[in-house]
Symmetry: C2
Subunit: 421 residues, 2 copies
């Protein structure tokens, strides 16, 4: 009998117990042994659950029980201070040589390199397949299967909540608040949805993928992350006119000379020829680009209790069997992250003409003024008849902001400014 403990018995933690119960036959067959959840640690009282009698409040009971060879760390990331607490528990377990499996992206994004180093020293396993993409296999495939590649780029939809909201807005013409409400009613968004809709969740996930792909810790605080609150139905309809859908994109790209990584989380217009264009609803899609493999994409439901729990359970099996070794990347403060504003980009700009400065029907002047500031702009009629929108390539965001300012001075009210992938 293999004894394990679960710390944090919320959605994912209790889901892990469910998966072990539901799929006991297949899991025991592969392990050649049964798994026993000996302890459950949670700050709340767990009532009316078949495992209620396993509940404890003191982590040291787990740490000091020589029967426990593995801890599942599924502490909720939303509770203030929980990341540091989860980190401390993980660290003390790994230092004792106890395996830890987690879905906690906040801990891996911030402390991954350090914890993997400790695990390597004590020959414990520290696995975190569930931290990105829910149940979609992505961590191990990047690290093992694509190992012979120089990885260049990761471009991904990593947050199901925002993708659901944007899909609803697009398909039903809803505004952001109405779509968010539906997401909340369906259990796809939290009551306090900011971690999802402000890009914090995507940011942590791209940090883990970037650390893994490029070999150095990427601390989340080094990443510019923008959410989707400001996206309007007009933006979505305008995007459709030029063959695009708006998605919350997380992107990390290796820059060679000088050695750096460009990384960003922001809503972007995704063109139809991108494999991410068709990723709808709560699904995630992760495109990994390597120098010999080209593009490969991983697709599936990126969240949800059971899919995520199934990835945790697979890691538990793997760690108990010691089937695969730990991953590894270097500790870093992220000073190698490049200034995201100094990166060529293409933008979509929606603007209203200020009737106090310009006559809205004086198209020649309008086209002249935009063209003067952005010579390669393509100008379109907006879904909203009082507005227009244009697309433009830029080499540098600082110069671009100057250009936008010039346009504002000339009588354009800039309403939206969204990157194009």
């Amino acid at each position: 009998m293999l004894n394990i403990a679960i710390i944090g018995f919320g959605k994912i933690g209790s889901g892990v117990a469910d998966v072990f119960a539901e799929n006991e036959s297949v899991i025991s067959k592969k392990l050649g042994d049964t798994v026993n959840i000996k302890y459950i640690l949670d700050i709340r009282e767990i009532k009316n659950h078949p495992l209620s009698d396993r509940c404890i409040r003191d982590f040291n009971i787990i740490l000091n029980d020589p029967d426990i060879s593995l801890i599942v760390e599924t502490i909720a990331e939303t509770v203030p201070g929980s990341t540091l607490e989860a980190y401390k528990f993980t660290k003390s377990a790994l230092e004792k040589g106890v395996n830890v499996v987690t879905s906690n992206k906040a801990v891996v994004a911030k402390f991954g390199a350090e914890l993997l180093k400790i695990a390597a020293e004590t020959n414990a396993r520290y696995f975190f397949e569930a931290s990105v993409g829910g149940g979609i296999p992505i961590i191990r495939p990047i690290y093992n299967c694509l190992a012979a590649n120089k990885l260049n780029k990761i471009t991904a939809i990593l947050n199901g909540t925002t993708n659901f909201i944007l899909t609803k807005m697009s398909n039903e013409g809803l505004d952001f608040d109405a779509a968010l409400e539906i997401a909340q009613e369906n259990g796809f968004a939290e009551r306090d949805p900011s971690a999802d809709i402000d890009g914090i969740d995507s940011c942590r996930k791209i940090c883990i993928l970037s650390s893994l792909a490029f070999g150095r810790q990427l601390p989340p605080e080094k990443v510019y992350a923008e959410g989707i609150r400001y996206i309007t139905p007009d933006d979505i309809k305008n995007a459709e006119k030029i063959g695009c859908r708006i998605k919350l994109i997380a992107k990390a790209e290796k820059i060679e000379n000088p050695d750096a990584v460009y990384v960003i989380v922001a809503p972007m217009l995704v063109p139809r020829n991108s494999p991410l264009y068709n990723i709808e609803d709560v699904f995630n899609g992760i495109v990994v680009t390597g120098n010999v493999i080209g593009d490969v994409m991983f697709y599936g439901q990126g969240a949800g209790k059971l899919p995520t729990a199934s990835a945790v359970a697979a890691d538990v099996m793997d760690a108990l069997l010691k089937s695969t070794k730990n991953m590894m990347w270097e500790v870093s403060d992220g000073s190698y992250v490049s200034d995201y504003k100094k990166y060529p980009a293409k933008y979509y700009i929606r603007a209203e003409v200020d009737p106090n400065v310009l006559k809205p029907d004086d198209l020649n002047s309008i086209y002249y003024l935009i063209g003067k500031t952005f010579p390669d702009a393509d100008i379109y009629e907006s879904n909203n008849s009082k507005e227009l929108f244009f697309t433009v390539h830029i080499s540098d965001d600082y110069k671009f902001d100057d250009g936008i300012k010039n346009l504002s001075d000339a009588g354009f009210k800039i309403k939206s400014k969204i990157r194009i992938l």
Copy 2:
């Protein structure tokens, strides 16, 4: 220095040498050592290659050299007798405890279970990530990352050549022969294209995936495989009318009671809501369904010299580092494979009305006769004005064939009969 040998120096084998040369820095860093290709075994003389001096003709030189800890087996599958030869080489290497990495789907599909058993006994690694999906990570993700699932189903586009041909037919209105010629001109189809277009390649690949997912060897000769030669531009246009694209689909599904596996390779109409609908050109897409994960899809270029070679190279690194353990499934003669004809399906039927028997404009009679045989048929106008097509659910192919015969007797010339996914 880690000494390896490559046996079979065709497209993939020479690609492996290219990947090791091209990405030497990243590979050596991860291995902590350099890889030396000490021997190349090929029946042809390898001229004008930087490694020409490594060429030998006698496998025993490799087998008896204690420096060689790993053999890359990339023998071409098209040469008659090569599968058996590759199998014998692999077996004798594994018996001596020498690791083997292969892209040879014919060998894995036929002898996988036996070879994995030998590898387990001698603690050698036998890896074959490149045998399915080219460079797309799929073997390891199924086996490790989805281990806590009861896997139910694999539905996949596994052959880039046929997908390219069908995409060309669809986008440019070409017939099969013209599209095949373009595929050959672009190097996407062999001069003798039968392994691809008759479904043999897809069949071997679904056998490997099924063996892996369901834990028992699936010998290719147990699988009904149908190719795409008979697909016409009319079929493709008719499919579009009902929101479908025609793809060569490989499918394996677990049946619980009695314990069996349904498996088939055949062209199918893929509806727009399937993630496989958007897999175009030479790309592959593999949808894996598990009881807790739901659907996950893996997508990328499923063939090509360097992508496939990069998967071999990653396996070489993994085997040399012993980072992951071998996979395993049971030896079986495949007698558990169910009769594919006794499986509910939905069909698309294109038919011409025989003017000697029926008046082609007597629509009432036509609808009556079809409806009499297939009460739930939906009937449509065909792209070809002399024809019509209909879709129908069936519970059993034997009964269906009887129904088709009744229609033929009543004056319908059945031109196409294609499954709907």
